[in-house]
Amino acid sequence: MLVLTRKSGESIRISDDIVVKVFEIGKNKVRIGIDAPATVSVLRNEVYEEIQKENILSLQGSVSDLAKAAALWTDKGKKKDREK
């Protein structure tokens, strides 16, 4: 990993179309601005990891539980109809 030192207001250019700028340096956090084309996905890493984790959990589900969930869904629909 490339490690650089930057001061507030300074920036880094990645390739020819991405600029990362340090806006503010606090005690335990930094504010960063990112300029990138719309096709480049910029995300907090935690969010990426959370969604990846949900994907993995979805794979681990069993088809028999899915069939039960489908039955629960149908029941829920019927209950809603009765309430109408």
């Binding site: 990426y48 979805s58 794979l59 088809v63 969930a69």
Partner: protein, 142 residues
């Protein structure tokens, strides 16, 4: 038509024209790029988003509009990010998870839907970071 192997349904026949290509894959599974949607009467309204080239890779999915009537994704942003056409037909699927033997605790990820462009047979998993949509939206509670 040709056959693919699936862990959950064994060998099934699919229509090659229905294959959806994911240029970036699913998050965490970037290497698998071809998927098909499998429907079965016993699991409606859920579907299986099955990788064509890996029998073990099948995600439970559901139309998010069935869960949240007002579910909305910024279409213009999606079109721009994916370099899709303005007139393309785009729909969404949310990935569902079921804790083992607890179907009543099923949740749906409304924050990371799959955008499917049926005009192009292409899809991307989106991340709607500041949408307020939940990562684990409960289906049967609350």
């Amino acid at each position: 038509m040709f056959e693919i192997q699936t862990r959950k349904f064994g060998r099934i026949e699919i229509d090659e024209a229905k294959i959806i290509v994911m240029p970036d894959g699913m998050l965490g599974f970037e290497g698998q790029k071809r998927y098909v949607l499998i429907q079965d009467k016993g699991m409606e309204p859920f579907k299986l988003y099955q990788a064509v080239d890996n029998p073990d890779l099948a995600f439970f999915v559901i139309d998010p509009l069935l869960i949240l009537e007002g579910y909305r994704v910024d279409r213009n942003r999606v079109i721009k990010a994916a370099a899709w056409g303005k007139g393309d037909k785009i729909s969404y699927l949310a990935v569902a998870t079921i804790p083992d033997e607890k179907p009543e605790q099923m949740t749906v990820n409304l924050m990371g839907p799959i955008a499917i462009n049926s005009t192009r047979g292409e899809s991307y998993q989106l991340i709607l970071e500041n949408s307020g949509y939940a990562l684990k939206h409960p289906l049967f509670q609350g």
